[in-house]
Symmetry: C2
Subunit: 325 residues, 2 copies
DNA sequence: CTGTTAGCGCGTTCAC
DNA sequence: GTGAACGCGCTAACAG
């Protein structure tokens, strides 16, 4: 088989009877270059005719930056909602000509630098924080945007904080609105989730100090926790997420029909299992689509050297009312 | 700020007092080149001292292939298990010096060619099938391995079929072993899942033709389905996955304590909500770790121009027995 | 053996 | 609108 040579800009130039420089100018619509409409269309035609596609590698080598946006995934289990967010983000970035990819796997496996050096991304997103050294290294390497989706607000002045506090606030607001005075907070068992759990809990605190208890994803231990909450006079539980909420529900059930009659539970995420729970779970959801659009806008702006708009926090988070609260 | 110039192999060469070629030979341990231990260590030292890291872009440009393995995610919602698989895969590939990234988002957003052209991957994995044209284009572009994790077996002779049939088989086996004679199959509502559902269903068929019914993730419609199954004399249900199983359970519950007393239900995936369900859900899980190791081995082999070992199917799929079946 | 020279891969961009 | 150099690593051909 006759090794099917790549089509390069030189081929296009030859076919159009111009120089490679001209091809580049036309195809990139380089500002400050005047190319006659005639030449212009000859080039365009030649490129289309040959099925020319520029080499991403060569372009990256030259410009020092690819059109890939890299997202570093956290090492804790990602669920449906995150998957959803990534999908939307990908779609939005594609609209701007950027290719979105995600890298799963903990930093433990491989130093984070190895990852972005292999990609030469235009921007890097991460769920957890970067160290200052890492941020600096990436910036120096020409990465336009480096943001943590979580982490201390305003750390680098460019955080894209998903307002986790708002989630907790909405939960507590709903429960208090339903007349609950003493709240409990069902904290996740997995320590890796702390980065999400803390801000959510602090949101709940805006409505009074809740009784915090760690609830494993297991009916037995969850029952203990529920029993103690009841003894504390707690009547409403804000759970870290739907799974923890499901555990609380399972725990209450195990206690028998006695105590937990009036126990209200509210989760986060609205996973499919939530509506199928016993009783159907009231929960709080984030509009992943809206969030994705905002993230994409910010990334695109940053890659272009500009600053994005602030996150519109209204309407972003909604309560889905079902029977558990 | 004095633009922090990149460190190149030329810098290393200068510092070590050798040519760039020598640097390359030493750093890549190029076979068939004999470099004296003295020179060798001088180069290594210089490289380390300068913190030299080769430019991935330049290397990709030259060799026509990066060390990135691209995985095209399906457009249907990915859950925890897939996330898990990707994480494990990433870890395993890292061990071989390959960088794993996933691209979410449907092919509708952007032709698949745009994606891999932006990455120049060493290998491409996909959940759904590639068209012959796509496969051919990638091969021609130098992508070493192109596989579909699903799709018609043996299509390109290199499928990495996750044995979905085996999953259905295990489900039916468990139910039949418990004495159930007439089985039902709870088919997912989302048409995008068909690619997974069909092989699973065919696995169930090995134990007799089940009564197939589509079950939406909603208690109401699910109750209808359950009622009709009961009327058919069905006593055991194999569900497409845990979520659908949860819906079946919710449907049965809605029917009241009458009919579904002896209805057995078995899911797939063992999501966290499964053990918290009412009753706790019996389900079938795949050893994602083992699967990841196998996929990684195959990819590494293919990138090296070799062929990987066959998938060990024993022990890969296990039944997690709880109370629902 | 040891190591060097030189040119390629391909798009971008400055100076004429 | 063009020529030429550049970004950076790889490797065939070649000299000591």
């Amino acid at each position: 088989m006759p090794e099917p040579r790549r089509i390069t800009s030189a081929d296009v130039a030859r076919r159009a009877g111009v120089s490679r420089a001209t091809v580049s100018y036309v195809l990139n619509a380089t500002p400050g270059q005047s190319i006659s409409p005639a030449t212009r269309s000859r080039v365009l035609e030649a490129a289309a005719g040959l099925g020319y596609a520029p080499s991403a590698a060569a372009r990256t080598l030259r410009t020092g930056r690819s059109d890939v946006v890299l997202c570093l995934l956290p090492d804790w289990p990602i669920g449906n909602e995150v998957g959803n967010l990534l999908g939307n983000l990908s779609t939005e970035l594609a609209r701007a000509g950027l290719t979105f990819v995600a890298h799963p796997g903990s930093r433990a496996d491989r130093p984070i630098a190895e990852i972005w050096k292999a990609i030469t991304p235009a921007a890097v997103l991460s769920f957890s924080d970067f160290s200052d050294g890492e941020t600096e290294a990436m910036r120096a390497a020409g990465v336009a945007l480096v943001v943590a989706l979580l982490g201390r607000a305003g750390r680098h002045g460019r955080e894209l904080e998903v307002p986790q506090q708002l989630i907790g606030r909405r939960q507590a607001e709903h429960l208090c609105g339903a007349g609950h005075r003493r709240l409990g907070y069902a904290y996740p068992d997995d320590p890796r989730l702390q980065i999400f759990a803390e801000p959510r809990l602090s949101g709940v605190r805006a409505f009074g100090e809740p009784v915090v208890r760690t609830v494993p994803l297991d009916a037995g231990p969850a029952a203990d926790a529920v029993a103690r909450w009841c003894a504390d006079g707690v009547t409403g539980i804000c759970a870290y997420n739907d799974e923890v909420a499901l555990a609380v529900l399972a725990g209450a059930r195990r206690l028998g029909p006695g105590a937990p009659a009036g126990l209200a539970v509210i989760g986060v995420d609205d996973i499919p299992a939530a509506r199928l729970a016993v009783p159907p779970l009231t929960t709080v959801t984030t509009d992943q689509r809206m969030l994705a659009v905002h993230l994409a806008t910010t990334v695109v702006a940053a890659v272009g050297g500009r600053t994005g708009p602030p996150l519109p926090t209204d309407d972003l988070i909604r309560v889905v009312v079902r029977e558990s609260a």
